[in-house]
Symmetry: C2
Subunit: 454 residues, 2 copies
Amino acid sequence: MHTATAGCGWSGPAVGACPDRRSVDNVDEPNERPHVVIIGAGFGGLAAAAELRDDPVDITIVDRANFHTFLPLLYQVATAGLNPADVAHPIRGIVQRQGNVRVRRGTVVGVDWEARQLEVETEAGPLAPLGFDHLIVAAGSTANFFGIPGAAELGFPLYALDDATALRNHVLACFEAADADSLLLDSGILTFVVVGGGPTGVEVAGALAELFSHVLRRDFGALEVGHARVVLVEMAESLLLNFDGSSQGHALDALRERGVEVVLGDSVEEVTATEVALSSGRRIASHTMVWAAGVRANDVASTLDVDVGRGGRIDVGTDLSIPGRSHAYAIGDIANVPVPGEEAWVPQLAPAAQQAGRHAARQIRARLAGRPTTEFRYRDKGIMATIGRRSAVAELPFGIRLSGTLAWFAWLGLHLLTLVGFRNRLSVFLNWAWNYATWDRGPRLILGTRRRPT
Amino acid sequence: MHTATAGCGWSGPAVGACPDRRSVDNVDEPNERPHVVIIGAGFGGLAAAAELRDDPVDITIVDRANFHTFLPLLYQVATAGLNPADVAHPIRGIVQRQGNVRVRRGTVVGVDWEARQLEVETEAGPLAPLGFDHLIVAAGSTANFFGIPGAAELGFPLYALDDATALRNHVLACFEAADADSLLLDSGILTFVVVGGGPTGVEVAGALAELFSHVLRRDFGALEVGHARVVLVEMAESLLLNFDGSSQGHALDALRERGVEVVLGDSVEEVTATEVALSSGRRIASHTMVWAAGVRANDVASTLDVDVGRGGRIDVGTDLSIPGRSHAYAIGDIANVPVPGEEAWVPQLAPAAQQAGRHAARQIRARLAGRPTTEFRYRDKGIMATIGRRSAVAELPFGIRLSGTLAWFAWLGLHLLTLVGFRNRLSVFLNWAWNYATWDRGPRLILGTRRRPT
């Protein structure tokens, strides 16, 4: 990974002279409005941009993808319940009606804090340096495999849309292979190990079990589906650690009802192409390890030449600013955000990122108006996890605890409401209604992409 | 490409002894029903399988994909009007209720006519030999670049679903790059050359022009969209050669109205990463050459050790059987099907493939009953092409000629009816209604897939 270069060492394409902060910035007409750059078009970044909609600033959103990904539903793409386009929305479409926003597709690989410029790379090479007056770092997280041998190379994480389609392709290809050669069944080709008993692990384990028992049962013979196993491995002694005991119990029961084998108090020691070895000494013959057991900060954090703490995340002050880097903020999953007056961190949840995005935007507004910054206070919206058809748990504010069908409907409704874009909401709603009514999953396709087909 | 081995030279995985025709065939219970293998799950292959629904035969469909692709709408996936899943349907879903069909995902790479066995390759290696009593070859076509330098390496064909997503990714990435660096505009990064003035070329050119002027106009600045050009190159002196003069004129006018530059009587001589050179000496600065100017038979044709003719296609008799290969038939785009009593071939259209699929199935039924085979007679269902919003041409039986809005609605209706699966029809209908009402295109996403993300 590139490190930031100081001064004028950086040279982009077709930039002859030493670039000054704004002149290379492709702004159609020069102006003196402060330039806010937001790294990442996730929940936090988009909330920050929206908050600044009517402010006299120019905003540039930089993201490696040309779309916002609705991460909470990735596991449904991975299990063929939804299409990739259902959980993705083009960033340019989201900000189309907001005149002060531009979009750049690329990956931030370095910063020159002195000159206030970002280095941005694309597949086609580096872009011209991107100058900023204020910076909001909202690049999110990526999988943390904790150095477990084989995990990074062979594991399937679920933190980006491409991850979800890769897992879907792999799961379906395993069934096709087993159907073509039944001798493979003994090699564990239909044993799917999900590591991590948090909401993501519980959701993907439950969805895989339902995919096998309801959908693939009709596509494949009884032979294959009878051999299919989902094993959920959690290091702690219970699932859903952040939930209360009754929710944990409900999730455990609901998963076991669906045939998921839940292994508690054990962890992964090594992954090979045909085996997952656990710390207890147990070895599971399997060609598939889904990783839902840990995240760390996006690589952007380590390229920014700032202090990082727990999980490689950027340690910020209570106003979300990066210490020592004036005019820069970090929010969402890439930041360690302290809870004022407590030895605790704000949880890594979409509502927290959205609230922090709005807060960071307001700090920029305050600074521009010469006002002091203020502390960020997270308002708890509760936590939810779904296990499958008519089964979920929800712990909402005011001590409201739901489980089963009611929690499932609450989960569906909340996710429909928070999806970006009416078209996505409509499509997800119709897909869910179809899947529910027919026990079918349409997009069970093994798809690739070819850059230049022959 | 593998060639067929005679006798017992072939050894698949886990097959110890010399395999006899059926014993290695993974059939759960042995039986004496004749085994019909169909290569390809396109229009022809599926029609053949459906025709044999109630016959006392076992059927295996072999396809490289796990889904049927509705090729006539690929260009709408390439231009972000539809999702990949809208034009693809899992093969196993299609044949789910037909008890005598099995599905194998793999590519046929050779045949042993003596032993009546096919060699099938998968990503994971070869499958056990697939025995057959009767064979229907329906593997379709692929792009024919006629050896034009650079065309195969750099051109974008549109004959498979992956082709469509590759083109969509590329088109959107060109706009992103141009937006990030306006100096690229002079390099032709937003000039898209479509080669071939048949229905596919006309459809993709019209759809690209509408994508730019209606949809990307709102995503990108006037600068980029003003620079975007679509150039349609056709070797002949008119578009849509198989249509009559009024349809050709309508298509030409409709494309020009949409801003497409139509170049007639010229052809491509060379393609580089930044230029398309024409035979006239004209050179077009462009990073994108869409190839819609020719097809040849799928590679399967050349691995089968049979006589191939025009376009590398298998020459068949009037009853669709392969000369000298008893019990084998070729249908659809992989076959040269003679029109009885004429020096002509049956056209390469979906209805022709479907009719031929049913006919080949009936020949198998006749042979099994000891009856002679019969001549295939193509019933002309007409031809259609769409240029864009409310513009199409249709030439139907009984001399019916439509153009404009009426032809467009006929085109929409026919394609909705012929799509496989109610879910796909509903989804395509809703997407079309949405796109028509909002001038929007939802799935304008640059998506990749990663096998094993890090």
